[in-house]
């Protein structure tokens, strides 16, 4: 079966390649997306100091670190069984809103500059 390989996929964050298989009629029989990337945060975050989680997990993705920072922070809220005060919640919202603006600007203008 004829195979068309797109390696790597580009203009997005992350690693991947695509294999497209064509049948005798030249039509697409099947296609596979392969992700040749793993670092293992699930394993090496175990045993670290819990307060470092927002710093460690931001390195899952440097394009959307703020989202990972929040996920880790919420996990810490749950682990410590605390409800953050109103000011903290508002600061988090503000940071996230700022990040959404930053991220869209980055996608719209940053990569268009090249």
């Amino acid at each position: 079966m004829k195979e068309i390989v797109i390696d790597p996929i580009t203009r997005l964050e992350g690693h991947g390649n695509v294999s497209i298989f064509l049948n005798n009629e030249g039509e697409v029989e099947n296609a596979y997306l392969k992700i040749p990337e793993l670092r293992g945060f699930e394993q090496f975050c175990v045993g670290r100091r819990v307060e470092l989680m927002p710093i460690l997990t931001t390195r899952i993705c440097g394009v959307c670190p703020v989202s990972h920072h929040f996920a880790a922070t919420k996990a810490l809220d749950a682990a410590f069984n605390v409800d953050p005060p109103s000011a903290a919640k508002k600061l988090r919202e503000l940071m996230y809103a700022g990040y959404i603006i930053y991220d869209h600007l980055c996608a719209l203008s940053g990569f268009r500059k090249i």
Binding site: H15, S19, K34, F44, R48, E51, I55
Partner: protein, 327 residues
């Protein structure tokens, strides 16, 4: 494509994409880069395939900025390929430089990581217990994946490296300085780290009183006094063992340095340097000449996860390199 223009490439191996964002954070300065250089390969931004890089003549690329560590066979291949195609190779960012946070995977081997990620994690549903294989037969043919290594390596443990840009990610100021040095053909001797020759303490605005400490606090156990050295308040700060260039940004918002700038100049490794710095400041209260083993143990036991704390960004490049493999 102009003949006089430099040819620049960017590549990411085991990385998070934050180094690419750091390049974009040059903002309008990136226009200078585009003016003086043609970007001939940059997967995140332009559509050039691996086979196009393979077709380039040797030393075709003037400078390659390589971020990410070497974690699998594809990344090793790309490191060797880009070394062959580039006149100058720069290890860009902490992962390529010293291994960074993904280098903490050297506390485990491939099997432990695969088991945790694909079989044991609470969020995983994998009844057929499928884990990645280098070759998988499907109806239509064979699918290949790179080999996942037991050990994370830095770029210079894999190929010859010309320059290093430290940091997670490298501070924009350092990137701009490096770009300027390249533009003016004023790069320092090969092997140089393109960052200041000082430690984070030298850039830190907080005041030191040369105070000793007897108790270690975790960040949530104490609200630090503003403007005073965090380490002298008992909060572990890796600043004394970390290369500067970041402007001590974390310290200006009461966050201790976690060490992303890597080891200081003339220091063989960051972890040992920090342990040494801590040993000179941590002790029992009052004048005590003799420490019993118990005293020392009690002092040391205050430090939770010393390896993850002192080698958070540099385990692969350290003397330790990794946890001993179970044969």
């Amino acid at each position: 494509m102009s003949k006089n223009k430099l040819k620049i490439a960017f590549y990411w191996a085991a990385s998070c994409g934050g180094c690419e964002i750091a390049v974009l954070d040059l903002n309008e300065k990136i226009l200078d880069v585009v003016q003086l250089a043609d970007i001939v390969f940059w997967p995140v931004a332009i559509d050039i395939k691996y086979k196009d890089v393979e077709a380039m003549p040797a030393k075709y690329i003037d400078i390659t900025f390589f971020n990410g560590s070497i974690r699998n066979s594809e990344q090793e291949h790309m490191a060797k390929l880009l070394r062959q195609k580039s006149k100058t190779l720069v290890a860009f960012g902490s992962c390529a430089h010293e291994g960074c946070i993904p280098g903490l995977a050297n506390l485990h081997d491939r099997k432990e990581i695969f088991d945790k990620v694909y079989l044991e994690s609470k969020s995983i549903a994998n009844p057929k217990r499928i884990v990645p294989k280098t070759s998988t037969e499907v109806e239509e043919g064979i699918l290949k994946l790179p080999e996942f290594y037991d050990t994370v390596k830095t770029l210079d443990q894999t190929v010859d490296v010309d320059y290093y840009l430290p940091g997670c990610p490298p501070p924009v100021k350092l990137i701009a300085t490096a770009v300027e040095a390249i533009t003016n053909n004023q790069l320092p001797p090969k092997g140089s780290v393109l960052a200041p020759l000082t430690s984070v303490c030298d850039e830190c605005p907080r005041k030191k009183d040369n105070k000793k400490i007897s108790k270690i606090y975790r960040v949530y156990e104490k609200i630090p006094e503003p403007e005073k050295c965090l380490l002298e308040q008992g909060i572990i700060c890796i600043g004394p063992a970390t290369r500067s260039g970041c402007g001590a940004q974390c310290l200006t918002v009461d966050m201790p340095c976690t060490g992303c700038g890597g080891r200081c100049p003339n220091s063989p490794e960051q972890g040992a340097a920090m342990i040494s710095a801590l040993a000179s400041i941590l002790g029992l209260e009052g004048e005590t000449e003799h420490y019993s083993q118990e005293d020392v143990d009690n002092l040391m036991n205050q430090i939770k996860d010393p390896l993850g704390t002192f080698y958070m960004y540099s385990l692969p490049s350290s003397i330790l390199k990794r946890k001993v493999m179970q044969k």
